[in-house]
């Protein structure tokens, strides 16, 4: 399509993202929840908010977002804390926090199964849960993981599995907004040349567009009976 919109039935762009499965309102006591399956990686997210918070955590002009993410790793290190901060920064760009001053929005993420591309699965699940909760957002954020292989002539792998990630020299997670497809978040491990990074950016953007089309399709279908 001319204006960058993706046709959900387009077969070429089907290969860009793995099999996506999403369910809304999986948790009954939360204000928004989603379970997200991205290939074999699956994540569960629950959102409470906006709720009352302690004076010490209150911010006068905006809502305090708190993320608690369980990556299901055997050892717990600072890396998990840093990933939580990255997810929190992504959520803060998405949610219009000025609408809910002196409140708190609590996000709980739990990895159900990790088969690679886990950070992007977490952020995509967070977006889905935010869609379910209906909070004020400026745009949606979609996350794509690229694996850059060791050999310079091999193509970039989109959404690598755990095995493929071990063979890659670098894993890049990119998040795009759904309006202009600008980069919101970029998290990389390993080393890569600038040319390879630019290739990853372009490929991720196409995958991101497809994901946004999928998210819209899922929400429209799930709300069919509500109108």
């Amino acid at each position: 399509m001319d204006n960058g919109e993706v046709d959900i039935n387009d077969e070429v762009s089907e290969t860009l993202v793995p099999h996506i499965c999403c369910e809304f309102q999986v948790l009954s006591k939360t204000d928004g929840s989603a379970s997200f399956f991205q290939g074999s990686t699956s994540v569960l997210c629950g959102i409470h908010g906006p709720t009352e918070v302690k004076q010490s955590k209150q911010q006068n002009d905006k809502s305090a977002i708190e993320i608690s993410a369980n990556f299901n790793t055997v050892t717990h290190s600072c890396r998990e804390k840093m990933l939580q901060e990255i997810i929190k920064n992504t959520a803060e760009t998405m949610i219009i926090t000025h609408t809910y001053p002196r409140t708190g929005i609590t996000v709980s993420l739990q990895a159900l199964h990790n088969d690679g591309s886990s950070l992007s699965a977490f952020i995509n699940c967070l977006t889905m849960a935010l869609i379910d909760s209906g909070l004020s957002m400026s745009f949606l954020v979609v996350a794509v993981t690229c694996g850059i292989p060791r050999e310079p002539d091999k193509p970039i792998i989109l959404y690598p599995s755990l095995e493929e990630e071990k063979l890659c020299v670098s894993v890049v997670t990119l998040c795009f907004d759904s309006v202009n497809y600008d980069v919101v978040t970029s998290y990389t491990t390993g080393t890569f040349s600038i040319l390879r990074y630019e290739q990853a950016l372009l490929q991720s953007e196409s995958a991101g567009r497809r994901l946004v089309a999928i998210f819209e399709f899922i929400k429209r279908r799930s709300s069919d009976n509500c109108s």
Partner: protein, 233 residues
């Protein structure tokens, strides 16, 4: 995208519309650089010339003028603290009831239900409830009666708005079959009271399953209830 094509359809946050001629936009929409951007997720509706988003948010955000059902959480010397389901606890002055004076006002206990109207609801202020209108009459507001079997259920806010709209056949269908009392709060709480427990359970179940039905399915449900002719409940 043209905004007129998306009326009564789901729109997501970030959707941009190109109509520069629309002067007034309602809640959930904003005008940025001559384009209209959505900040909420829900159905795009149009009333005369104003577009707004019928949000599908389940958490209640206090809005001035809303009539809501609150649960009394505590008591202070001059006011009651009432939980309305939003992030802040609302206050209800002891004198905000019909005919109340400093010596004579309803003695509400913790856990009692109150049907009130929000007079102050701003994102920077604590919400305030009253149970009278501007001339001092209750007009249906006040503590909810406990003399009959009654039940309060929690639904989504969008469903409460749908139940109260003229196009929804649920209440108009149920009222022809059974006698009951119902209070719909805009904060996602519905209170039902009926002469017997059997009728009460039937009404409560009908309303709860209707949350995920469209109008056609609700009409079918009402027809089945009518033809099943359940008596002696």
């Amino acid at each position: 995208m043209d905004i007129n094509d998306y009326v009564n359809e789901i729109v997501l946050s970030g959707d941009l519309f190109d109509n520069a001629d629309v002067k007034f936009v309602g809640c959930g929409l904003s005008k940025i650089d001559g384009k209209i951007q959505c900040s909420k997720i829900g159905f795009l509706r149009q009333r005369e010339k104003i577009f707004f988003i019928d949000s599908l948010q389940s958490k209640y955000i206090a809005c001035q003028g809303d009539v809501i059902i609150g649960i009394v959480q505590g008591r202070m010397p001059d006011l009651f603290r009432v939980d309305i389901g939003s992030s802040d606890i609302a206050t209800l002055s002891v004198l905000s009831f019909e005919g109340a004076t400093k010596r004579n006002y309803p003695e509400l206990k913790v856990g009692d239900l109150v049907f009130g109207k929000l007079v102050t609801a701003h994102k920077h202020l604590e919400p305030e409830l009253v149970c009278i209108d501007s001339i001092g009459k209750a007009n249906g507001l006040g503590p909810l009666p406990t003399n009959q079997p009654a039940f309060m259920m929690r639904t989504s806010c969008a469903f409460c708005r749908k139940v109260l709209s003229e196009t929804c056949p649920l209440l108009s269908g149920l009222k022809e079959l059974y006698t009951f009392e119902i209070c719909v709060g805009m904060n996602g709480r519905i209170f039902v009271a009926a002469p017997s427990t059997g009728v009460l359970l039937l009404i409560v179940n009908s309303i709860q399953v209707a949350e995920n039905m469209n109008n056609h399915q609700i009409n079918t449900m009402i027809r089945k209830l009518k033809s099943s002719n359940i008596k002696n409940l």
